[in-house]
Symmetry: C2
Subunit: 195 residues, 2 copies
């Protein structure tokens, strides 16, 4: 697979903003069953090897799971504070949960689990997210987790962009590019567009 | 109108993050005609007077206009870097463009225009956003704008939240609240929920 033309500017942004931990946070929009948008912050966990797919992790108990099963298209908006750049990345989302039979994807799920901090791992043992909070603090503290086996509700989520919009707010006028993947030839078209 | 219960924590977050200009940036998700999510960064321009509606400004030539006309529901995701808090605000969007007959809304549109910086005003005179860039730099520089009359394509956008999700990442466990507006009684219900 060839590196998409938006990968190099995105790598540059990640590098220039690397001193800010939140530069790896992006907002992922999906669609609810009622046809309304949902939008939340997620953490970028690197690219799936030899691909242009962004890795994110999530909990199978979260609302986005049923949303993605119903409509797998998502759009991420990633704003870099220091360099004042925005990337919008639209494409199909793939859920890699415990029952995924693909060995390569399952290996990636295990690797993503292993790379989580202990406190992030433990969140997957917390009571059901979004439900009314009734439990004592110890329900959140007592989890035992191991590195070699992800908890069953741990899910890897892949975003495979087909349309990318890149905006540099610095400069007068600003600069903006549109990247689109041609589905037949699997080649990317890059256009300079008006900001 | 009464202040929604999420207004006070949001004001607090804005205050605590006020040293960071980008703390007024949030990501607004809408739906395309094809039923896919769209997501971009917008700037919070304060609340519409005596309401819980967030003010945003936009250009009638931007793609979100037709999206909102087709499906007026949106969800904004607002992450505060310094205090590590997230607000998700879902509700109906209202476009206030040049042809809006409501006098109060039209006054708010004028006020929003007047409060823009000169360079932000001039962006509304730039060539069509998103179109292939063919014009010279001077096409972006030559605009004349006046404070007393918004350009015809200047649009005020209001987000009237009916569901708000608030997450504090600080703390172990984290804290999370769900706020929902009862449409009959127009009162807000607040629940503490699992993070």
């Amino acid at each position: 697979m060839s590196l998409a033309p938006w990968r190099s500017p995105l790598s540059r942004s990640l590098h220039l903003n690397r001193s800010l931990p939140h530069s790896r946070y992006l907002q992922l929009a999906t669609i609810t069953k009622e046809g309304r948008p949902a939008n939340r912050t997620v953490v970028f966990r690197g690219f799936f090897p030899d691909s242009n797919q962004l890795q994110i992790v999530t909990d199978t108990r979260s609302e986005k799971i049923s949303q993605i099963k119903h409509q797998p298209w998502g759009e991420a908006c990633w704003y870099f504070v220091k360099t004042r750049e925005q990337f919008r990345l639209a494409g199909k989302l793939t859920l890699v949960s415990e029952d995924c039979a693909d060995r390569i994807l399952q290996q990636a799920r295990l690797r993503a689990w292993q790379q989580l901090s202990d406190s992030a791992k433990k969140q997957f043992a917390w009571p059901d997210p979004g439900k009314t909070r009734t439990e004592e603090e110890q329900a959140f503290a007592s989890a035992q987790v191991t590195a070699d086996k992800p908890l069953p509700n741990f899910c890897l989520l892949l975003l495979n962009p087909e349309m990318v919009d890149r905006l540099e707010l610095r400069g007068n006028p600003q600069n903006r590019w549109s990247y689109s993947l041609d589905s037949d030839s699997q080649t990317w078209l890059t256009r300079s567009v008006n900001p």
